[in-house]
Symmetry: C2
Subunit: 152 residues, 2 copies
């Protein structure tokens, strides 16, 4: 099981995910409990408290993880957000927006798809804009599938 964590973490790392953040993500995923404390994460991943701290902050910013202060206790519980992957996709989409706007700027100074450069850049721009535009519908469809499966 620990192997699963490392394996998936490695995959995500190749994708630009910080290594420890990826490990924490999958450690939470494979936890029998609903959430884990920073200390528990440190033990399981055999990492320092500091490394965990940085990782959960990162994951929090991306919306993968929520922190839940446990009332009457000093330790906070970190939990995967519901619909983790759904939320993650939403974040990823911002990347597309950045590409699109960068391309738009260039097209402004190059003058549209007349030149070779304009043609290439606008194809890229259009491609990302196209994919990006389809994402919301895709996520909706996914949501719908889920609800049917869970019988609600």
């Amino acid at each position: 099981m620990r192997g699963f964590v490392e394996r998936l973490a490695l995959l995500f790392t190749d994708w630009g995910f910080p290594r420890m953040a990826a490990r924490v993500l999958f450690a939470l995923m494979t936890a029998e409990a609903p959430g884990l404390t920073a200390t528990e994460l440190a033990e399981r991943l055999d990492a320092s408290a500091a490394a965990i701290s940085g990782a959960v902050r990162y994951l929090g910013q991306l919306g993968f993880v929520v922190r839940e202060p446990v009332p009457g206790s000093r330790r906070d519980l970190y939990r995967l957000r519901d619909h983790t992957w759904y939320a993650g996709t939403t974040t990823a989409v911002q990347f597309y927006d950045l590409i699109i706007s960068a391309a738009d700027e260039v097209l402004g100074s190059v003058g549209g798809p007349q030149s070779l450069v304009g043609e290439r850049v606008s194809e890229m721009r259009d491609f990302f804009a196209f994919v990006r535009s389809r994402v919301p519908a895709l996520l909706d469809e996914w949501q719908a599938t889920r609800q049917i499966q869970s019988g609600r």
Copy 2:
């Protein structure tokens, strides 16, 4: 324009793309000519020939770039492949497959979505499988759009 190259390259770098490869990609994209030689790339990007060599090899493996030996000349021309982004997506999909199969293995030993762990892992698995399954249709749709626009 050089700024555009650096800016987009940086974006892609955040996404796990090797930096020089990203630079080369966008240098080719913003070239007035159909392709560039290794030497030209080195000049424009102000990098060593060695760095260019590694980058174009990488891009070649990913299918972003083709190398065209120029007949009667010692220098090879590197060109962006047509439908660059379309092809790139195809490559990216393999990443999904790896996740899916890793998840499947775990589910085998955890026994489906009965436990908390099983539930989380199978949600992830299903999500990636869902998105992955929609990609081909999405790309088809994109192709269709293109053909209409270019009037063929």
